[in-house]
Amino acid sequence: MKVMVTGVAGHMGRLVAYMLLEQGHEVIGLDRRAWYHPPDGIRVFQADIRKRPAEDVFRTQQPDAVIHMATVTHLTHRSEDRYRINLKGTQAFFEHCHRYGVKRAIFVGRHTFYGAAPDSPLYHTESEPPMAVHTFPELSDLVAADLYAGATLWRHPEIDTSVLRCCYTLGPLRQGTLAAFLRGPRVPTVLGFDPLFQFIHERDAARAIVLALSKGLRGVYNVAGPPPVPLSVVIRETGRSNLPIPEPLFRAALGRFGLPDLPRGALEHVKYPIVIDGTEFAEATGFTAQFDEDATLRAYRDA
């Protein structure tokens, strides 16, 4: 199959591209960032998904399947630019898919879609509404992009579209929301709270994405890894030290004393768990994580 990956120059994008190549697919990459020396078999086009040259790639290359990973988080972009990339980029992506006869499309989303709140249940299922808009306004563009992607199923029913809500990735690449939170030697937590954290090894996440593609999955699915563990265990097992801070001081301490800088809404995500139920995805694809929680935490720690 001829598969295109948007956001291919990112760490997860590269991992997915390599995995597709290993499985014998013809791989095309699209990114506005450069990937200077891609391996043989991966052709990379440098263009912004929202701009004309990106559409040309769709027209001239005619991919059979595409994986949309060109979304950005508050970690990389703080400006309004983020909203344009995530929303306009996703819109352009699916319009091109429709116009140029793409048969399978995958949107890689995030489990933070569900949001964290004191009254939210453990183990979110796919039918639940996105509470993240309320609890964490900085995520609203990603939530909107997720919902827009899901609407492709009725807007363009001829495309086999799947939306994957993937939990935090962790592993030797040390990239992503949770990896950034754990980067320093001391990890701030809110005194008196120790939520469950759910994460998946980045190789398992890439495998799940490739698996969804090869199965031609349709619909919205949670991609969960091994069972969740308390944040305190995550901190301990990655060799960090836990720095509990009383809630009133928590916001003031962020970004100082070598602690990570988090947006305001992130506080709820450090106090309360977001745990997803990955049963439906596992049943639809036969997916099981190869790395358990210990192996994943070790891989992050020892990288």
Binding site: D119, L122, Y123, F193, V229, V233, P273, E293
Partner: protein, 282 residues
């Protein structure tokens, strides 16, 4: 309440053995998929065992009515201004059953907002009372504990200690939906342990809790009194979870009636009018 993880509570070896005997899927970290922590359980039950066996004078009748495994719903009456009833029912299911079971309560929402208390209750398997939690735990064949009176029930004053206030109806719909047997549990003596004379709602609002109970001696610390826990025979309701409110109300009334009978017998037992052998649990 102080979380056990912050104070060096001892773990009794017999309690640790019973925690090991719990049929819960613990990982190598001693944590189950819901975050229930073995070590915290052992500390908690060591403390609870002291209260259960030494501090209070507790008599438990009909523990054989709690299924040894598989889903079941303990439905109890609230008695005592704080969650003493829940704690003692949890203790009895853990200490009195042949193979111990962890009763998982459906807690008030405010609990999750209180530092330490939130963490503490989650590690011990006491989650917010959401229908989603209820269904998931029952489908996982856990032992659920619900108090359909809710916060209205814990706010009962001393003079109303053996009464039942209005029941919620959600528990019946959830039991029908998941085909779960209901085990009525009467708790008698909580009113004597914590003789509430007034509830301060204003102070409660300020502190972020529903209310603060006041006793003749001030704070709501329980007195070492005689307590009775009576487990009735399991009831398997028949019907559909989406039945009309009238049908559901009949099921609720049935359970409430059985509970009221159990409470009356528990009261008679506590006053010495009958013996444990004379209690009718059906």
């Amino acid at each position: 309440m102080i979380p056990p993880s912050l104070i060096p509570l001892p773990i009794a070896p017999e309690v640790a053995k019973r925690v090991d005997a719990l049929e819960l899927p613990f990982s190598r970290h001693g944590v189950d998929p819901y975050g229930i922590d073995k070590k915290e359980l052992a500390k908690f039950f060591t403390l609870l065992r002291f209260l259960y066996e030494r501090y209070f004078d507790i008599e438990c009748v009909g523990i054989h009515n709690v299924p040894g495994r598989g889903r079941a719903m303990l439905v109890g009456n609230h008695s005592g201004g704080v969650a003493l009833d829940g704690l003692m029912v949890i203790a009895s299911a853990f200490l009195e059953m042949q193979t111990p079971r962890l009763a998982q309560g459906m807690a008030e929402k405010f609990l999750q907002k209180v530092p330490f208390l939130a963490n503490f209750s989650n590690r011990l398997g006491q989650f917010t009372g959401l229908p989603e939690h209820c269904i998931r735990l029952l489908e996982d064949d856990r032992l659920l504990m619900v108090f359909p009176e809710g916060a209205r029930g814990t706010a009962k004053l001393y003079r109303d200690r053996d009464s039942l206030v209005q029941f919620g109806t959600g528990f019946v719909r959830l039991a029908l939906r998941t085909a779960t047997p209901i085990v009525p549990v009467a708790f008698v003596g909580g009113g004597e342990a914590i003789p509430t004379v007034a509830n301060l709602y204003g102070l409660g609002k300020f502190l972020g809790v529903p209310y603060v109970p006041i006793t003749p001696y001030g704070v709501a610390l329980p007195l070492p009194v005689r307590l009775k826990i009576l487990y009735g025979e399991p009831v398997m309701l028949e019907g559909d979870a989406s039945d009309t409110d009238e049908v559901i109300a009949r099921h609720v009334a049935l359970i409430k009636g059985k509970l009221a009978e159990l409470i009356a017998q528990g009261r008679a037992l506590r006053e010495g009018q009958i013996t444990a052998e004379e209690v009718k649990l059906s």
